[in-house]
Symmetry: C2
Subunit: 373 residues, 2 copies
């Protein structure tokens, strides 16, 4: 059996390259995890997700507890088998989605009661129930239940919210059933306040987790505030554990966060953009619905190895989106996920070869000099 | 270069097994051709279509002339390159779709003027223009322009309509530019009237085509009348040319038509059904939305080799359709096309081994004894 751990391989400034060892296989970091909300990365077969280079995917506790339910997934052999993903799976705790339900939820010290956005049915999530659900799903990496602090928040609001998350973190740890190669991550909160982030990081380290996530960012604070908060948070996280920035972000966000010492990321951006016709490329963002692509025989990105780029023209992608053909979202999601994986592999290589700064400058220059098309 | 021809390999009763030789590769018959209306088999990558066993696909002149236009496809290197399908492509003539536009079209002796269902723009299709469009698309098998006679039609109506199609067939032949390994097929009309079908078949044979299609069926006449019409039509078609029953049909339709000497088929049924949750299986039709599948860990069809059956449970497919996840239509289209290809391969083997009657009885018994679930 494999003990869950993260092994550092190289550093370049604050940036780190490493390997995550799990019961379901190894993952090289820094890593981007595609989001498979309802036990599927939207518009992709599991084989296609693997073909993009992805080695770990995300599942959503909130969505899966409502449909098909954690108990049913367990009966069917767990999430890995259900969605044909034998590799590692990280599940969020359900906290983020429930907080965004706003008027459909009521929070108390013990947990949160909410109504399903699907049928209005009543549900309750506590740290203990979140651990149980993620256990039933057979999640490789379980996330502690937290309250994702809204933005903006006053220092007082952020402190109260963070303190609640820390109590829930301790309860999550107590309720989590350790298994060889499985992990539980704590989540740092504290909004944009450095003192709160520091207290939160220290509180979590005192409890002791297999990895540390940074939550409550990418919620409207902007990239500058996000980076500044990372600068005030990452130094307080244990050096020998993986660091995961939740729900982030654009290619430029990932680059900046890797430079600040983050190892893991997830975001719906590449998949969602793929469904709406936006392509991430080495030369910036393209909108495939734009008429300028209608007769362009060239690929979306000549540097990309995905099927959309190696087998088809921009003109074909434009045609598919214009006709609302499902193959448009399918191919463009495949492309965007490939771009994100390629980006992360490139960052890892740069860290290994101690040339991240030059690589970052190269990437940023090419992104910046190509307007959205 | 390959000369276009169909070579008979074996017969069993009226049924035939053969090989279609084309500029874009060989195709074993009897064959089912997936429909790729707008230069894509809906919800499938070209690689996935190939993985189902399909070796020839259909394109629609009507849809492609409107979007992205035949001229644009030609500029981009033809339909094969555009949609990543180097194998043979058959294009319909546009007649069937335009006839179904009903109030948006006006027919005259020379051709048909119609308004696009997309934006109301005015277009005109004549036999000459249909040949030109299919040439621009680089279609391997071009279909003559015909009027698909509506059902029901009186003998007089059917005769007038058929006579027009025969004049258009002659003009299609005159306008078609022969190329090595490319083909032009004529289309027999005549509704359900045997004398008209016979005249039509003889008129087309006199003009001389590379293959003969039977049009104007599967338009509401029912299976019994369709089979009866085939019995009255097929004997009048040249023995040494491929026979193509247009727009047909269910697995049982294909079986009955193969038994009556038909070699080629196309139909939206497996792809359309796949998008709505209906699965064709060796034991009849399943509706994956049905709650009875919610906890079923078994595959859709234990005899099937597609990814939906080898990697996932019925419960997973049920979940995907319940959540309106794109992967549901993707996997189920893949499955249905695999089922159709497997069915046709089985029929071919049975013909080769002179056991089609027994095989047909076996198939029908299993379909009949399993109600829709």
């Amino acid at each position: 059996m494999t003990r869950f751990c993260w092994t550092g391989v190289a550093t370049d400034g604050q940036a780190r390259a490493g390997v995550l060892h799990t019961a379901h296989g190894d993952v090289q970091t820094p890593v981007f995890m595609p989001v498979g909300t309802a036990a599927t990365v939207k518009a992709m077969t599991a084989d296609a997700v693997r073909a993009t280079g992805a080695r770990i995917v995300l599942g959503n506790t909130y969505h899966l507890m409502l449909r098909p339910s954690a108990e049913r997934v367990a009966k069917l052999g767990g999430l890995h088998r259900f969605m044909d993903w034998p590799g590692p799976i990280l599940t969020d705790s359900g906290g983020f989605q429930i907080m965004s339900l706003d008027k459909l939820r009521s929070l108390d010290a013990d947990g949160v009661t909410f109504r399903s956005h699907l049928d209005g049915s009543k549900h309750r999530l506590t740290p203990e129930r979140s651990m149980e659900i993620q256990h039933l799903l057979d999640s490789t990496i379980t996330m502690a239940l937290d309250e994702c602090t809204a933005f903006p928040a006053t220092h007082d609001q952020a402190e109260t919210s963070m303190a609640l998350s820390m109590r829930w973190a301790a309860r999550s740890k107590a309720a989590f059933q350790p298994r060889e190669g499985y992990a539980l991550f704590g989540i740092v909160q504290g909004s944009i306040y450095h003192d709160l982030r520091k207290s939160s990081a220290e509180a979590l380290a005192a409890i002791g987790f297999d990895g540390y996530a940074i939550g409550g960012l990418a919620v409207g604070e902007g990239q500058a505030a996000m980076f500044e908060t990372l600068d005030g948070t990452v130094p307080h996280l244990p050096q020998d554990r993986p660091r995961y920035l939740m729900g982030v972000g654009t290619p430029d966000d990932l680059l900046g966060a890797v430079q600040r010492g983050v190892d893991m990321f997830d975001c719906v951006m590449p998949t969602r953009a793929g469904r709406t016709g936006r392509a991430y490329t080495s030369r910036g963002i393209l909108n495939m619905r734009n008429a300028r692509h209608a007769e362009d025989a060239g690929p979306i990105d000549p540097e990309c190895t995905c099927p959309a780029c190696t087998k088809h023209s921009r003109a074909y992608l434009h045609h598919l989106f214009r006709c609302d053909e499902m193959l448009g979202p399918m191919l463009l999601t495949w492309h965007n996920l490939t771009y994100y994986q390629t980006l992360m592999r490139g960052l890892r290589s740069a860290v290994l070869e101690c040339r991240l700064e030059a690589h970052a400058a190269f990437l940023r220059e090419r992104w910046a000099n190509t307007p959205v098309q």
